[in-house]
Amino acid sequence: MLKLRDVNTFYGNIQALKNVNMEISEGEIITLIGANGAGKTTTLMSISGIIPPRSGEILFMDRPITGMRPDGIVSLGICQVPEGRHIFPYLTVLENLDMGAFLRTDKAEIKKDRQYMFDLFPILAERRHQPGGTLSGGEQQMLAISRALMSRPRLLLMDEPSLGLAPLIVKQIFEIIKKINTENNTTIFLVEQNANLALQVAHRGYVMENGRTTLTDSATNLLTDEKVKKAYLGM
């Protein structure tokens, strides 16, 4: 579904991604783990077009999307849940959700999707008229996820959904991620610091170090890999 071929991305003169190659097939949950500054977020930004790669190729459904503008990429069905949530603080929960459906015009379907989000996260239904900024961290993350889902993405890019959340909430969010994947067959690309949890929900994983993907395997294999265990799982 998504292929990255020799992608190189720079911030000015600093190279953040070095010949990154990846492949994601439809219906998978893929996780990308790695230390701080390894280039995980940059990979997402390169895919979503916010920081376009300098060289290399990104293919989505066998179609090159390198060099396309971010809004064009979203309209193809790739939606990002940005790191640190970035909900609209002064818009109500409902308006936030409607923003997610900005590119859609099918009103009846949007309404149905809204109801689906409220079934997925009942707490959001309770708070639907509250401004997004007044929600707690966990609720904001739920809102960010459901807002992204409102665009009916085929590929959902998630950047550190566990950031700054209590362990209990994190668990809940990961269960939802699994549910979204199985119920809607949405492909999910999950970037996480919390390698343990991420590998438990994912089918496959990539390990990133200094802008390079150094290891790729099925999630179960990675969980038992000695090197990964030592470096990222703290065992």
């Binding site: 979503s48 916010i50 503008r69 971010p70 809004d71 990429i73 979203v74 309209s75 939606c79 990002q80 849940v81 940005p82 970035h86 909900i87 609209f88 603080p89 002064y90 818009l91 109500t92 409902l94 308006e95 409607d98 923003m99 997610g100 900005f102 590119l103 809204r114 109801q115 409220f118 239904a125 639907r128 008229h129 807002r147 992204a148 665009s151």
Partner: protein, 401 residues
């Protein structure tokens, strides 16, 4: 509710004030007769005055606190009168009728001086509404808005001078030139936000003014352009009084059009994109909103109104020069938007009327204008940071479980 402690604090403030102002308010040295006058009466006035204002201040703060506590405790929020007038048809329909009647008989009742003042005020209403698109809706702080106003005014002045084009022919051209310049400014500032954006727009406003001031062959420099014709009505030229009334109704019509357009924009797709852009740029991009297009339309649409109003301004005053388009004008329009309430149409209208009409009618206090202006701004920031009338966004009702 009024505690002794509050009284004591106010008393201390007044003593402190008396002490501070003692040297200038009480002692007066008369160097000719070589005597020192002691004006003890003044200090009593200072003391009483500062006690009164300090106590009033404390009382209002206290009231605001208790009001907030009540709201937090979940007691039913009392809807303020201003909000009720805006939302209840029983109240706003008579209010609208009153305003409409007043606006239509106004030029036949009052003198030409009054009409002129009112036209100026309405010009600022429309300018405020135009800037409101850029600042209030899209959240782009534009300190050079007056540049587009100048573009409109000079396009009428120059096109009339060189090609003898009439008011009605130039009005759309002025609007169009506003759009062109809006986009021209928009492109370089696409990547900027916040303070940086403000600085660049400020610079842009100054560039336009300096060009007009110094490029004598093009714009006749500081001496400006005189004898610009007033608008005609199908070729018919009016007398001075009739022309003023005509411009008055023209402005009323334009205001209604602006209100209609801005109102439609606010609840439209592009309006929602602007609001998203204002709130969070990263999220805005993640939602698939084209940042470039959204910013440019905001600048272009805001500039359209300024360009159009510029043409009318030139026709009204029949004389333009760069002195009418200084940074102070931009600051004035921005204050109208901020004071009225960002993003709120009625707020901006009231803000413009207050800020333009009050100084006209309070000419007696013109020495204290800047002092009052400062005081009002401070008081506003403490008691009504959201502006006189805050924006009531359309709320969506969700029928579901």
């Amino acid at each position: 509710m009024i505690k002794l402690e509050e009284l004591k604090k106010s008393f201390l403030v007044s003593v402190w004030f008396m002490f501070l102002t003692f040297p200038i308010m009480v002692i007066r040295v008369n160097p000719i007769e070589k005597v020192v006058e002691w004006r003890w009466k003044n200090i009593l006035i200072v003391g009483a005055g500062s006690f009164f204002f300090s106590f009033l201040w404390r009382y209002l703060l206290l009231r605001r606190e208790t009001g907030r506590k009540k709201m937090e405790a979940g007691e039913i929020e009392k809807i303020p009168l201003s909000r009720r007038i805006l939302t209840e048809p029983k109240m706003y329909i008579p209010a609208l009728v009153c305003i409409a009647v007043f606006a239509s008989v106004f030029p036949f009742v009052f003198s030409i001086y009054q009409i002129n003042i009112m036209v100026t005020a309405i010009i600022y209403v429309v300018l405020g509404l135009g800037l409101n698109i850029v600042v209030g809706l899209a959240g782009l702080l534009d300190l050079g808005y007056v540049a587009f106003y100048a573009v409109g005014a000079y396009s009428y002045g120059l096109l009339n001078y060189h090609f003898n084009l009439g008011f009605w022919a130039v009005l759309p051209i002025g609007a169009l030139l506003g759009v062109v310049f809006g986009i021209l400014l928009g492109f370089p500032v696409l990547r900027l936000r916040g303070d940086y954006l403000a600085i660049v727009t400020l610079g842009f406003g100054e560039i336009i003014r300096l060009i007009l001031e110094n490029w004598n062959e093009f714009s006749f420099g500081p001496s400006g352009i005189a004898n610009i014709p007033r608008p005609s009505f199908f070729g018919h030229q009016f007398s001075l009084h009739a022309a003023t009334v005509y411009i008055y109704f023209l402005m009323i019509a334009l205001t209604l059009l602006t209100i209609f357009v801005v109102n439609r924009l606010q609840n439209s797709r592009i309006g929602r994109a602007w609001i998203a852009l204002r709130e969070d740029e990263v999220a805005c991009q993640a939602m698939g909103i084209d940042k470039t297009k959204t910013k440019l339309t905001a600048f272009a649409l805001g500039a359209t109104w300024a360009g159009m109003i510029g043409v009318i301004f030139a026709a009204k005053t029949t004389f333009i020069n760069p002195a009418s388009f200084t940074f102070l004008e931009s600051a004035m329009i921005l204050s109208i938007v901020v004071m009225g309430g960002m993003g709120s149409i009625i707020g901006v209208i009231i803000g413009a009327l207050v800020l333009i009409l009050l100084p006209e009618y309070l000419r007696a206090f013109s020495d204290y204008r800047m002092l009052l202006f400062g005081a009002i701004l401070v008081i506003m920031m403490v008691f009504r940071p959201q502006g006189l009338i805050s924006n009531v966004r359309r709320t969506y009702k969700f029928e579901g479980r």
